[in-house]
């Protein structure tokens, strides 16, 4: 962490960058916040640890409008989102300085709570990210790091940064689960079971828009759900339509662009596994149109703005999904 702070100070000092985008300590040890640092003094509050899960690439849309370069720290998976945004002309590469940071998997306090640990006061992570010491009202508890990891890290995309100006720190292979296992489990259900499953999950939604706000692919200046472009004369119907179809349409809009960064599920206050929509599209795209990783580069045409003459017919695609 100190290495990151030192390098950031250097780049600020020699004028390479005008500001630094990173994480600072939050009100608790387990919830660091995204923050800008404008000088060496402010950088003293910089933190980088297992709880720094937030994907910073989306912030660069606004940062690109500011004077001078912004230094940003991107984890390997965040770099895919960065590339995708470059492809969509949303961020200005010339106004960013990317330091790829090492990642050994990210953890969340929710997972620790899920393990039945109550009264958490603070959390300490050991140097090698093997174990976590949780200080609680009822004494210290030790938890294996992997048990507190986010779902996305169990199916990690890899240790490499697909874009960066320099890389600091080492990453670790954290994959220990099958990426599409959950999607396949749902695919195997009967139509009624599927409907019931998604109905139960989606009914928890409070339309707080946290998923939309955090999603690097959901970067529209104005969301289609906030404009009148699709409504018909009867406003009441529109409301119910957008309320009910929100997640399905959102998933379609980011299909072929979603990097599976998992931020949507991470930030959902209701714990809805929103990534299951996106991952279904990714699975289908890979199956029907060839392996595709959104954001792997900033040039390749996305699968939904492309075609081949002998693509699968929709009726066969549906059967193939069974």
């Amino acid at each position: 962490m100190q290495e990151l702070i030192n390098r950031a100070k250097e780049l600020l000092a020699d004028g390479t960058v005008a500001r630094v985008l990173g994480w600072k300590k939050g009100d608790m040890s387990y919830n660091p916040e995204v923050a800008y640092f404008n000088n060496a003094e402010e950088l003293e509050g910089f933190v980088y640890n297992g709880f720094c899960a937030a994907n910073l690439s989306k912030y660069l849309i606004e940062a690109s409008k500011l004077e001078g370069k912004t230094l940003v720290f991107l984890k390997p998976c965040d770099s895919y989102s960065f590339n995708q945004l470059l492809k969509e002309h949303r961020i200005d590469r010339d106004k960013t300085y990317v330091i790829g940071v090492g990642c050994k998997g990210k953890i969340t306090v929710e997972k620790i709570r899920d393990l039945g640990i109550k009264g958490i006061e603070s959390v300490e992570i050991d140097e090698n990210c093997e174990n976590i010491t949780v200080k609680t009202l009822y004494g210290d508890k030790t938890v294996a790091y992997a048990d507190a990891m986010l779902e996305r890290c169990h199916v990690c995309k890899g240790k490499e940064h697909v874009v960066s100006d320099e890389v600091i720190g080492e990453s670790r292979d954290t994959v220990d689960a099958e990426r599409f296992a959950e999607v396949e489990r749902i695919e195997a259900m009967s139509p009624a079971e599927k409907f019931a499953f998604f109905k139960a999950e989606l009914s928890k939604c409070i339309r707080c828009n946290a998923c939309r706000n955090v999603c690097p692919a959901c970067s529209c200046r104005k969301c289609v759900f906030d404009s009148t472009k699709f409504d018909s004369a009867q406003k009441a119907n529109v409301d119910s339509f957008e309320e009910k179809m929100f997640h399905i349409i959102r998933a379609f809009h980011v299909a072929g662009r979603c990097t599976d960064c998992g931020e949507c599920s991470r930030v959902c206050p209701q714990g809805i596994p929103l990534h299951l929509f996106n991952r279904k599209f990714i699975k289908d795209i890979n199956k029907f149109y060839g392996e595709f990783k959104a954001g792997e580069d900033a040039e390749t045409k996305g699968p939904l703005t492309n075609f081949t003459f002998d693509d699968v017919e929709p009726c066969d695609a549906v059967k193939g999904g069974n």
Partner: protein, 662 residues
């Protein structure tokens, strides 16, 4: 809020017999926005249009819905009527209650209910319509004709005579097409070459006509009035400017074993060749697959004997790019393959031939120098059997379901010519029906029977069996006599079905012109627009549209020319105003829309945008209305809904969905 008038047409009894039009009027009166509703016998009639105009004026209507036939039929009529009455023509919507309702449903209650729903959808849509204004685009005063047969030649001549530049693209080394292969023509027995050659010469000499032979259309882009076409001029290996057409190279060429395409494979040609003596241009091509120089590197005889130094082994294919205002397709036909008709022994006996092959046999320049001979042994035949409808009128997958139209007449011609020249030859024709609609056609057929003694038997042939003695045993039936017939013949001639030239599929795809299940090009309207493709600026000439004889082909070629001239005569075309329109405030500048646009109509511009007080430079999409054809691909790819299609907007279509699912 719109003030909408709804006009329900009876279409005589076409609609009114199955849809209770009065009830439709009563119900739609209560729809939101509707201030007027009435029905009438024929809305498209002058009186019907007057009713609409009157209502627009009196009720101050801002939009109208006509419940009638398909918009493909009368949308233009009603738009014009509205415009004359002072309403923007794009404030008109059609509810198709004839083709999509009254004609396919029998139950009045059901059909009336559906008509109401279709009307509601149109009303919901027109509530959200906005006046649109057509733009203008330029017209390139040049036409392209694809195919250099009689259809293409005639079309080109007619367009050129009207004063416009025309290019003919022909894939073989010479223009002339199928007609150049024919010996005589029915029902006048003119010599085909004698009437075709002057046309070919006229086309070649015409200052407005450029002929690209041995060339193919490779790529087409653009749209009506402004097509851009890449033409591949295949390497001829002979310099067109230097060659004098002396023919020595063909004489001296040592490779003479290639079946002649012109003679339908009945004779051979040299590797360097012109297809026939009157070829235009009279410049040979080297068939590189047959040429020893290209196959082995040794030979070069033609270059040695050519005094003009025209042989160029290094010549490469050349791409010519040209702009056109109109394109005429005249790709013609070929006969079907007979591989699936073993019973006629076509592949087993040289003496079973197609009618087109007989044309070559009868022709003085053909493989037998015009003598009627058996191709197996050169003997003079005594007994010839003609079999009609080989592969035509077949509903199985061996043949074609349509009537090839020309066979009855050319068979009568062949029978008559043979009986005339060789009275010793007996001619029998097995037929299912003899179809002779046409001027002097039935008289011609009767002459073959009455004056020339051709034996017509109503019934088909079941089998042709080659015999050890070289004859052919024909087993047929005489249905009128109810007898089976066994006949020994020396030659059998098959009236083989014709099909569109296989090249038409690729061309139709390039032109985005639609094609039917038999690969004939579809016309815009089967009765009223028979020479126009539904794709604007593309016209149809000759057999590519459907089976035709020569006079019909020439007539249609002229008609296609007139349509093309009508287009070329315009300085500007009104463009479809239903184009894509971006909302700059919503645009992310992500380029997704530009990626899917087939016309390159979307570009990006960095602009100063004032977004509710926030002023900043943004990359936003711009649509070129002259290029946009209004497909809507961009609108769906846009996640923020910034891109919308005028006339088919998101809100309009959603309103229709809502009205239908209400």
């Amino acid at each position: 809020m719109q003030r909408i008038g709804v006009f329900v047409c009876h279409c005589g009894s076409n609609i009114a017999a199955t849809v209770d039009v009065k009830k439709v009027v009563e119900i739609v009166k209560n729809e939101p926005g509707v201030v007027h509703a009435e029905d009438y016998q024929y809305m498209c009639s002058e009186a019907g249009q007057a009713l609409i105009a009157k209502a627009i004026a009196e009720k101050n209507l801002t939009g109208i819905v006509v419940c009638s036939c398909s918009p493909r039929m009368h949308e233009a009529t009603f738009r014009k009527a509205a415009e004359r009455a002072g309403l923007n023509p794009y404030m008109v919507e059609i509810a198709n209650i004839r083709e999509h309702c009254s004609w396919i449903h029998k139950n009045i209650e059901e059909a009336t209910e559906k008509a109401v729903i279709l009307a509601r959808a149109a009303i919901a849509k027109v509530n959200l319509n906005a006046p649109l204004k057509a733009g203008e685009s330029r017209v390139t005063k040049r036409a392209l004709v694809i195919g250099g047969g009689i259809a293409g030649i005639q079309t080109a001549l007619d367009i050129a005579d009207a004063g416009y530049e025309v290019d003919i693209v022909e894939k073989t080394p010479s223009i002339g097409g199928r007609m150049s292969q024919l010996d005589k023509t029915f029902p006048t027995l003119d010599c085909s070459a004698c009437i075709l050659t002057p046309k070919m010469v006229e086309a070649a000499a015409h200052e407005k006509i450029t002929i690209y032979t041995y060339s193919e259309v490779e790529k087409v882009s653009g749209f009506v009035g402004d097509f851009t076409v890449d033409i591949r001029k295949k390497a001829r290996s002979v310099d067109m400017d230097k060659c004098t057409g002396c023919g020595v190279c063909q004489e001296k060429c040592p490779s003479k074993k290639t079946p002649s395409e012109f003679n339908r494979g009945l004779g051979n040609r040299s590797a360097i060749y012109t297809p026939f003596a009157q070829a235009i241009p009279n410049v040979p091509v080297i068939d590189r697959d047959a040429c020893l120089k290209f196959k082995t590197g040794k030979c070069g005889v033609c270059a040695k004997v050519c005094q003009a130094g025209a042989i160029d082994y290094e010549q490469k294919d050349e791409i010519v790019t040209e702009k056109y205002g109109a394109i005429v397709v005249a790709t013609g036909f070929d006969t079907i393959k007979l591989d699936n008709y073993d019973e006629y022994a076509y592949n087993q006996s040289k003496d079973v031939i197609t009618s087109l092959e007989l044309e070559r046999v009868m022709n003085a320049a053909g493989p037998t120098k015009g003598h009627l001979e058996r191709l197996s042994d050169g003997k003079h035949p005594k007994e010839i059997v003609f079999i009609q409808c080989v592969g035509s009128r077949c509903s199985d997958d061996r043949g074609k379901p349509y009537c090839s139209k020309i066979c009855c007449m050319y068979t009568a011609k062949h029978a008559m010519l043979i009986r005339d020249k060789y009275p010793d030859v007996n001619v029998t024709v097995f037929y299912i029906d003899v179809r002779t609609p046409g001027k002097n056609f039935d008289e011609f057929y009767r002459r073959a029977v009455e004056d020339y003694g051709v034996n017509y038997i109503k019934g088909q042939v079941g089998k042709v069996a080659p015999q050890p003695d070289g004859s052919l045993l024909v087993q047929g039936v005489d249905l009128l006599d109810n007898k089976q017939i066994l006949k020994k013949a020396d030659m059998v001639v098959l009236a083989t079905a014709i099909e569109p030239d296989p090249s038409v599929r690729k061309i139709a795809t390039m032109l985005t012109a639609s094609i039917d299940t038999n690969n004939f090009l579809t016309e815009s309207h089967a009765k009223l627009r028979p020479v126009e493709s539904p794709t604007a600026g593309v016209f149809l000439s000759g057999v590519c549209q459907g089976p035709k004889d020569i006079p019909e082909t020439v007539a249609q070629a002229g008609a296609a020319a007139v349509k093309a001239i009508g287009l070329l005569a315009k300085d500007k075309l009104l463009t479809n105003p239903c184009t894509a329109k971006p909302d700059e405030l919503l645009c992310n500048g992500c380029s997704a829309c530009a990626n899917v646009c087939p016309y390159g109509a979307i570009t990006y511009e960095v602009k100063l945008i004032n977004d509710h007080g926030i002023r900043e430079e943004r990359r936003v999409a711009q649509v070129n209305n002259a290029l946009c054809q209004g497909c809507g691909a961009c609108t769906v790819t846009c996640p923020s809904g910034a891109m919308d299609l005028q006339g088919f907007s998101n809100r309009q279509i959603i309103a229709e969905v809502d009205a239908i699912c209400r």
